[in-house]
């Protein structure tokens, strides 16, 4: 069996297309590369959707935490504390068992116990809390002069927010937000180790990597393959976010632009 056959059989295995059974012998380099790569589909799915949807909630939470209304302010602060103060691993477990016990109440909750929706919701709320805190910090450091200039131009309310406050906030927050995006993608590997079942062995990259490590008793091949894929993914994220960063800073002179400096934030 050539490597092309393997790719045809297992290239889309993680979303249920191709061979039904996972490989049971051989465990060649080609099989490992293909299956772990096909698992990356789930990591990208979780990461991209959680990041895109979380972005809007994060903005709302940041505005809420900065607002003068005590109800909004307290609610946002508690939301951020709840998701930043506890381990993501425990959040996954709790959410899974919560949805499991809601299941008998109504069939609406059926899809929530599967990873594609249930884990996505947890990741969405989690990244919203982390990026909300980042955006809140950036919102606090929007220069006063910018707001005063906007006032002088007669802008107020929505138009001032849309044209001055929000773009400046994004510009300030962007390097930290890039970090958050990288670690969100890393966090997606936790999904299939935290209660959510991998239905018909359709799992993410780490699920397949640990499958091979368990079968061959040799961790030195699958995990470096996984590392290779993730470093590739991280480089893609950095370059994509770098492009957006360039666009956000396009009006500034060359030397005043915020350099993309990656800082430590690690896991949740």
């Amino acid at each position: 069996m050539s490597c092309w056959d393997t790719i045809a059989d297992y290239g889309l295995r993680s979303i249920g297309i191709g061979e039904r059974l996972l490989p049971r012998e051989g465990y060649t380099l080609c099989q490992q590369f293909t299956l772990i790569g096909s698992g990356m589909i789930w990591n990208i799915y979780f990461g991209v959707l959680a990041l895109c949807s979380g972005f809007f909630l994060a903005t709302a939470v940041a505005l809420g935490k900065a607002s003068k209304k005590p109800v909004l302010q307290k609610a946002s602060a508690w939301f951020i504390f709840l998701f930043r103060g506890s381990p993501l691993f425990i959040q996954f477990f709790f959410a899974y068992f919560l949805f499991l016990s809601l299941k008998p109440i109504s069939p609406i909750f059926d899809p929530f116990t599967s990873a594609w929706l249930g884990a996505l919701i947890v990741l969405f709320l989690n990244t919203a809390a982390y990026s909300g805190e980042i955006f809140y910090g950036a919102l606090q450091s929007v220069p006063r002069g910018d707001i005063e200039a906007a006032d002088a131009y007669g802008m107020s309310g929505w138009s001032r927010f849309k044209r001055v406050t929000w773009p400046t906030m994004l510009r300030l927050a962007w390097p930290a937000y890039t970090n958050e995006a990288i670690f969100l993608f890393h966090a997606t590997t936790l999904v299939y180790f935290s209660g959510f079942p991998a239905w018909q062995q359709r799992g993410d990259a780490l699920y397949y990597a640990s499958f091979f490590a368990d079968k061959t008793f040799n961790p030195f091949i699958p995990y470096p393959i996984l590392a290779f894929y993730f470093i590739l993914l991280t480089l893609c994220i950095i370059s994509l976010f770098g492009l957006i960063n360039r666009r956000l800073n396009r009006h500034l002179p060359q030397d005043a632009r915020a350099k993309m400096k990656l800082k430590l934030n690690v896991i949740r």
Binding site: Q91, T189, N218, L264
Partner: protein
């Protein structure tokens, strides 16, 4: 535990709960809280030591050593840490067994990789096949600690490397002007001054370390996550005196609250420490403190 627990079926709600929460297995979950604390107590200094070695070697003037240090910092950052956890537990175990194998059975001719198996001679096994249960558990725990220390050592190395570069350069130049050797400058000037710059990063790291402790479960240690899953599952009257439905949700809610309290308390304590350390420092925060007083 209590004397009235002899016949649980006849008890009222409150007394039943008191008895239920003090069964032998529940004592195991309470002791596993100490496992978490023990892990933190051992890992934090070990990881700091690893980080110190990593940062020092990344700064080294001997290129191969600095490459190793920089690679150590970079690789751990680029790859999900949970992958490292799963990797190191097997890899370290195999490394130790292989070293013992080479020492204890030098006349073994077969390859240690036989098909899909990793085979070492019997007396090289770790722990030995006839060792008591607690040895197995301790060995598993030590592997977990070492894994945590390696991964978090890289994060600490990153923080310390940044802190070493943040120490004002003229301090080091002055020391050189006084005729100190490179080693003396490093130990007498750089190292004592870097801690203030490292503290914000290290306290962030401590929070991250707390939040990483439930991953012990993935390393095969019987920790709080393991017991929460075990105890929370539905129990019928056939197997226990305390039958109940699926309570895992409540157990994990309790864990969530435990971790929230833990991080909150650490946050408050670290804030206090930071305030103490910035007192009188020539930094923005120190200046603000001086003005407020």
């Amino acid at each position: 535990m209590f004397s009235f627990c002899a016949d649980p079926a006849s008890l009222g709600d409150l007394a039943w709960m008191a008895c239920y929460l003090t069964t032998g297995k529940h004592m195991a979950i309470y002791t596993s809280v100490f496992t978490v604390l023990l892990l933190l107590a051992i890992t934090a200094p070990t990881a700091l030591a690893f980080g110190f070695i990593g940062a020092s070697s990344a700064r080294s003037h001997f290129p191969p050593l600095s490459w190793i240090g920089k690679a150590y910092i970079a690789v751990v950052r680029g790859v999900p840490d949970i992958a490292f956890f799963l990797f190191f537990v097997i890899a370290l175990d195999q490394l130790f067994e292989w070293i013992r194998h080479e020492i204890k059975c030098p006349d073994w001719t077969d390859s240690i990789w036989q098909g899909n198996d990793f085979v070492v001679c019997d007396i090289a096994k770790l722990p030995l096949g006839n060792a008591p249960q607690w040895v197995h558990e301790t060995y598993g725990f030590m592997l977990a600690v070492l894994t945590f220390a390696i991964v978090f050592g890289a994060f600490a190395a990153n923080v310390l490397y940044g802190a070493m570069r943040a120490v004002p350069h003229n301090q080091l130049e002055t020391a050189e002007a006084y005729g100190m050797s490179r080693r003396q400058v490093y130990w007498r000037i750089l190292v004592p001054q870097m801690w203030v710059f490292a503290l914000p990063g290290l306290s962030n790291l401590w929070m991250v370390l707390i939040k990483a402790t439930p991953l012990l479960f993935l390393l095969g240690v019987e920790d709080i996550v393991y017991w929460a899953r075990e105890l929370g599952g539905a129990k019928t009257a056939r197997f226990t005196d305390y039958p109940h439905g699926d309570w895992r949700m409540w157990y994990f809610l309790a864990l969530l609250v435990f971790y929230l309290l833990f991080t909150r308390v650490s946050e408050i304590v670290l804030d206090k420490v930071m305030r103490k350390l910035t007192h009188g420092q020539a930094t923005l925060a120190g200046e603000a403190q001086r003005k407020a007083a």
